[in-house]
């Protein structure tokens, strides 16, 4: 009995030590970025983890005002926000049909959507660039949003479909008996029950659109429309970067997704785990 207790205590010690090491490993880049955002370039590279002699809060002012991050920030919120809304509507509607209606080709359709997850972004870059050029859609925000939507749709449909399959059907049946239409069932019964899955896909889709740099780099060159990811490139020169303001800009860029993730963390994890076990 004692042997088992000491074994489990040793296991706990190892586990906590491992967790501590991993916390340090993952926290280090964040601490480095935060510290560097208030340091000069010379301080950043001479002693990366030392405290600044005089905190350079001016880096934040340079990043926010002079490098136009305020505008890019708003652009990113609009672009990522619209992507999230469109995806939530489209994925939940597709998932409702795929999880609730038996029809020929149902399984194939789900597989078809899922296969989309396996298409690497870079392989379709040239055709997409060609289409955007041919249709004169450069600097068109809606086109950019639709590209984001198309790349995130497979994952969103998969998560929503798996979640809906696990939702108890008795409420829907009751609604149908009361005379509800399919659309009413979807809107009034299914959607409220799928909030955890919706939260999951929304946070993932928001991050995906927020962090995307490749598509806006190729398709948005109007300074008024650029998102925050492109704004970070403003600090990079050919032969050197302005690291202080760059780090401040990174802190600004990361802050919103981090806050959103912390707010929705539980629902996100709940949504991801859903469908893993059938009730």
């Amino acid at each position: 009995m004692k042997k088992t207790e000491s074994k489990s205590r040793l296991g706990k010690v190892i586990m906590y030590f491992y967790l501590l090491v991993m916390t340090v490993v993952f926290a280090m880049p964040m601490v480095f970025t935060l510290l560097s955002s208030v340091k000069t370039k010379l301080e950043i590279f001479s002693d990366p983890f030392a405290l600044p002699k005089v905190p350079q809060f001016v880096n934040y002012i340079v990043a926010w005002k002079e490098a136009n991050m305020s505008r890019y920030f708003i652009n990113s919120i609009v672009q990522a926000g619209a992507t999230v809304i469109i995806l939530a509507i489209m994925a939940s509607m597709a998932a409702y049909v795929l999880s609730r209606f038996d029809f020929k080709g149902n399984k194939f359709l789900l597989l078809f959507f899922t296969v989309g997850m396996m298409v690497p972004m870079h392989t379709v870059l040239v055709p997409v660039a060609y289409i955007i050029g041919a249709l004169n859609l450069k600097n068109n925000i809606l086109a950019l949003i639709l590209i984001y939507v198309s790349f995130s749709l497979p994952f969103s449909i998969l998560v929503m479909t798996n979640f809906m399959k696990g939702v108890n059907r008795s409420l829907e049946e009751a609604a149908v008996i009361d005379g509800a239409t399919y659309f009413q069932v979807y809107r009034l019964v299914i959607l409220p029950l799928c909030i955890p899955a919706l939260s999951t896909i929304s946070i993932f889709n928001f991050l995906s659109a927020w962090n995307n740099i490749l598509f806006p780099l190729l398709f948005i060159n109007d300074k008024k429309l650029k998102p925050i990811s492109l704004g970070l490139l403003n600090f990079n020169g050919e032969r050197g970067s302005d690291y202080g303001p760059l780090m401040a800009a990174i802190v600004i860029t990361v802050a919103l997704p981090l806050i959103l993730y912390l707010l929705f963390q539980e629902k996100v994890e709940g949504g991801l785990a859903a469908g893993a076990v059938k009730e």
């Binding site: 040239v126 060609y130 068109n140 086109a143 780099l217 490139l233 990079n236 302005d242």
Partner: protein
Amino acid sequence: MKIKKVMALTLAGVLSLSMLTACGSKTDSAGKELSDEKVTIRLLTRMAGTSTQVGIYNDIINEFKSKHPEVTIIDDSQGDESAFNNILTTDIASGTMANIFRIQGVANLSDYIDNGLLLNLQPYLDADKEWSGGFTEGSLSYYQVPGHEGTYAIPMESGLIGVYYNEMLFKKAGIEKFPETWEQLLDAIAKLKENGIIPIAMGAQSTYMAGHLHDQIFYKWMGTEAAKLLGNREMKWTDEGVVQTLQFEKDLIDAGAFDPSAAGITDNIALTQFQQGEAAMVITGPWNISTFTDKSATPVSDNVKVAKFPYFEEKPEFKNQDMQILSPYMVSGKLEGKELDLTIELLKMLTGKEAAKRFAEEAAFLIPRTDLDLDKSKCTDLFMQNVEIGGTSEGIGVDVFDFDPLTSMQDRTRNSIVSLFTGASAQDAAAVIQAEIDHAK
């Protein structure tokens, strides 16, 4: 009734989306309507970031805009190399080249010329002698691509890649004069090391730093023309002389010329070692002069001097064969009419005498022109020293791989040179580079 309501809502949604699309493309379509009168010029250069030269570049573009309000300028320029390459690759693949852009290297330009992507600028140089006459001859002829008539780029940046050194640290180690020969350099390294000073700042994780050191050694041992022989395959990387150039770099490593952790540190950390007076030398270009002369960025700025890389006593004929930076502006071969005329006008404004003077005096950024007429009171001593010793070059080479038609050679050569820092022999490094060339045949 309810179905009708849903239908109406759906239709309203579709209508709103199409209106949004219309709003988004309004500018485009408006632009298209007016395209007969309006011209759009797109730039894809490396002039981005927050440096002084980028400020001057933007001023020139704004001046052009005010002269030609009918012209829309879209500047896609990227400082970040991978972002730049992503745009350039997509442009090439989709055939939508920027009006003014940049491709590094010379030998690989042949394909672009064959595909009509590059404009032959020789007729424009011939037509405007005031503009073309000011460029140094070597810089223009650099862009005369073997096998093709004409000149395919305008040089927009040049300057000696020199050895910037801390005079005080040299004196502290008992060295009165900067070494002129390789043997003197090895002696100096030994003395600096004895005094606890890092002889040469090196951040080999940024592979170009180790590559630039090899370029210097290569030109002093083989001459600048040898790079062309490697490119046209008349010479091999495994040839004795070429392997010897790699061995010299290995000798420096073995002599303790660099920080023991040089393989794992970046260029920024290496430069910081020099700026703070921990390292005695750093090999870099004129773009760092403004940093080296700024006391707040370089506390030892008063002691920083510049010199040419030492030559080999056995090869005095290559004493003035130097590595210099040379960066170009290219023009799309697809342009015509008013768009072409305006693009050439902007190109002249960016590389002309007035621009060159401003770039040099305000940003220590050198356009290779002989008609600069610099106000020395506006330039730093370090910059003037660089210009002076750069003017003695009898042969100019950029990177050794610049004349190689194989585009992967930039990464291949640099990575193999870095492998010297992690234990590879000169023969191993040469064999790996040559194998890539042989494999591509």
